[in-house]
Amino acid sequence: MEQNAHGAHTHYDAEASKIGMWLFISTELLLFGGLFIVYSIYRYLNADAFHLAGEELNITIGAINTVLLLVSSMTIAMSTSTLQLKKKGATLGLLAVTIIIGLVFLVNKYFEWGTKFEHGIFPGSEHMLNEFSQGEILFFGLYFVMTGLHALHIIVGLIVILFAVVRIQKGTVHENRAALLENAGLYWHLVDLIWIFLFPLFYLIH
């Protein structure tokens, strides 16, 4: 808070910010790592049920979402390059595209979850408790937890990108002070990367 009085508090170290972000990303990977362990153990114990339950998921929506996130990773990576080239307009445009793609991903996810709920597939539902085997219950339990937590990360990522947009517009993030945008990009790539693992685990492996 006493920034103006303090030389030390206003010092800018892009390298430090980047190390910090990488460390934070490693904690996020471990967070999901815990879930991946749980998934592998239950998949190993209930191979048939996981197979059966996996066929319930809509591969098309999953594939579209995968392509969307890959494209958004590209657009945000391009935005860091355009910022270096001092093309503020292009940077903001690319970030806007990234945000829109992120929102479309969430809309898809909403409809996907909605269909499941309509079919009575959600944790604790009568339908699941009566009709499903334990393995299938676990599969959908993990499906909702892991894709839900991932969606939460998408939302956080979008907020961070929005924050970067505002700062670029105000001019406090620019080609010589780009750590915020670069970190937003790193975080967005992480969110993308986790989806790249979630997609085959839930949709593709049969």
């Binding site: 808070m1 006493e2 920034q3 103006n4 009085a5 303090h6 030389g7 030390a8 508090h9 170290d13 390298e15 430090a16 190390i19 910090g20 460390l23 934070f24 490693s26 904690t27 996020e28 471990l30 967070l31 999901f32 790592g33 815990g34 879930l35 362990i37 749980v38 153990i41 239950y42 209930n46 959600f122 944790p123 604790g124 085997s133 334990q134 393995g135 219950i137 676990l138 339990g141 993990l142 909702f144 937890v145 937590l149």
Partner: protein, 537 residues
């Protein structure tokens, strides 16, 4: 120097920034003020935890109901555990003394991310209030034990959710502190401060920060799963839905065992600063202490299974976990050897911090060796979940981290407040505390071997004698604690002005004024080639 120091009003305590009064503290990004914010909040929670502990010991004064029912007792040990583990010993030394001293010790003006540092403290406070809300509101205080074992943690009718989220947020605060320290140590060392010249306290903070960063997320997701289990019934830990409660124990201890080293490593670091200063001698085996610190941080990840020997795991897994448990004791033993060798033939200056440090070695030895008793498979079957376990981890966690915390408090007090405490009262407080500590926890070893289980409000008449001694011990210990705390509070306000370097220490914090100025150094120091943190002539 002394007069100039007193005349210099713009130290970090009296500095007036944008905000005045209390706001100037709770919104300050100065690492020293944040360190003190942690000190006050941690000591407040420590006092609450001590009162709960006293109540438990009072209940165990006689068989049957003494002052509380079984359910109240269950809630008391749960809240005592949650407070002491998540709010006191895990943040304890890193958040208080790490925050205050780390930048000064490496010749920096602040940590790498001062705002993030403040956010960590605010998250800590939010976590504290969430846990306390679980106690105050809802259908009864949590009664699962601090470990939140499944399936009881989602079956119990008590108000557990806020406590779980509180623990999650406290973990997040701990992660951010660790991240901040790692980047600070990598990026902000002053010219000439090579890795081979870092004070050992900094090295242990470095090892601790890695554990905080790499272990906490796992328990974070585990707690989230328990919360989701409670709210929606996802089934992951619920045997009725195909889940496995033992898996919860594995995931929990994968974090919570390394967390023990989050507690003890900075404590070892503080002791490694105090012993050479009061022996006026170069620390024996500087590199061995660093290597053993990193070895503990690493091997500590691989021993979690020893909490679960009786929970059901394969014999092969038991052998490995037992063997690794014995291996992780070796680096701790190396440190004890180094501390004692440092004192050998040193010119020892007997002061309060040294009393604490030496008694730390004593209780830490007993705690560590009793850990090996528990780590051997055959003995574990007999001692699992008995009072012996309680005695063991109080000797390590309270005897280790707690003693080191008070050692550090008495060592750095003159630097933090620029005033000296009354040494007579400090020594008296230490002696009474030490005697009380031994009387409180030693009988529990005996009671555990005789078969008294932990976590019961009642016991057989055969165990009465040991319990009486233990309860008396708790009263003696708290008497000592009150003397220590009153002495420190009084001295912080009215004690005589302290010198810059009252103990003749060689680390950088003893070169700046007491209390330090707002930016620690007028000029960033430069460490010469032949300078070092423990160069005593």
């Amino acid at each position: 120097m002394q007069k100039e120091n007193v005349a210099n009003v713009a130290n970090y305590l009296t500095y007036k920034g944008k905000h005045k009064g209390l706001l100037g503290w709770v919104l300050s990004t100065d690492h020293k003020r944040i360190g003190l914010l942690y000190l006050y909040s941690i000591m407040t929670m420590f006092s609450v935890g001590v009162l709960l502990g006293l109540a438990m010991k009072f209940e165990l004064l006689a068989p049957g109901k003494t002052i509380m029912e079984a359910q109240t007792y269950n809630a008391t040990f749960t809240v005592h555990g949650v407070i002491m583990i998540f709010m006191v010993v895990i943040p304890g030394l890193p958040a208080v003394f790490g925050n205050f001293l780390l930048p000064i010790m490496i010749g920096a003006k602040d940590v790498a991310f001062p705002k993030l540092n403040l956010l960590s403290w605010w998250l800590y406070v939010a976590g504290v209030f969430l846990v306390l809300s679980a106690v105050i509101f809802g259908k009864g205080a949590p009664d699962t034990g601090w470990t939140f074992y499944a399936p009881y943690s989602f079956k119990t009718g008590t108000n557990l959710l806020p406590a779980i989220f509180g623990a999650f947020i406290l973990g997040f605060s701990s992660i951010l502190t660790g991240l901040n320290f790692l980047v600070t140590i990598h990026r902000m060392r002053c010219p000439g401060m090579k890795w081979s010249k870092l004070p050992l306290f900094v090295w242990t903070l470095y090892g601790t920060a890695w554990i905080q960063l790499l272990a906490t997320p796992v328990v974070g997701i585990t707690l989230v799963l328990v919360a989701l289990e409670r709210m929606f019934g996802v089934g992951v830990f619920d045997p009725a839905l195909g889940g496995d409660p033992i898996l919860y124990q594995h995931l929990f201890w994968i974090y919570s065992h390394p967390a023990v080293y989050i507690m003890i490593l900075p404590a070892m670091g503080a002791i490694s600063e105090i012993i050479p200063t009061f022996s006026q001698k170069m620390i024996f085996g500087y590199k061995a202490i660093i290597a053993s610190t990193m070895a503990i941080a690493f091997v500590g990840y691989l021993v979690w299974g020893h909490h679960m020997f009786t929970a059901g795991m394969s014999g092969t897994a038991q052998y490995y976990f037992s063997l690794l448990t014995f291996i992780v004791a070796i680096p701790s033993a190396i440190k004890v050897f180094n501390w004692i060798s440092t004192m050998y033939k040193g010119s020892i200056n007997v002061q309060t911090p040294l009393y604490w440090a030496v008694s730390f070695i004593f209780v830490f030895l007993i705690g560590g060796l009793s850990g090996l008793v528990l780590g051997s498979l055959a003995a574990n079957v007999h001692l699992h979940d008995t009072a012996f376990v309680v005695a063991h981890f109080h000797y390590i966690v309270f005897g280790g981290t707690g003693f080191a915390f008070f050692a550090a408090a008495h060592y750095w007090f003159p630097k933090i407040y620029g005033r000296m405490y009354d040494k007579g009262w400090a020594n008296a407080g230490w002696l009474i505390f030490f005697i009380g500590f031994l009387a409180l926890y030693t009988p529990m070893f005996y009671l555990g071997i005789m078969g008294m289980p932990r976590r019961y409000y009642d016991y057989l008449d055969d165990f009465h004698g040991g319990n009486i001694l233990s309860t008396f011990g708790s009263w003696i210990m708290v008497t000592g604690l009150v003397i220590i705390i009153i002495n420190l509070i009084r001295s912080a306000r009215k004690g005589p002005a302290a010198e810059i370097n009252p103990w003749r220490g060689k680390t950088l914090e003893w070169t700046v004024s007491s209390p330090p100025s707002l930016e620690n150094f007028d000029e960033i120091p430069v460490i010469a080639e032949d300078d070092g943190p423990y160069n005593y002539k």
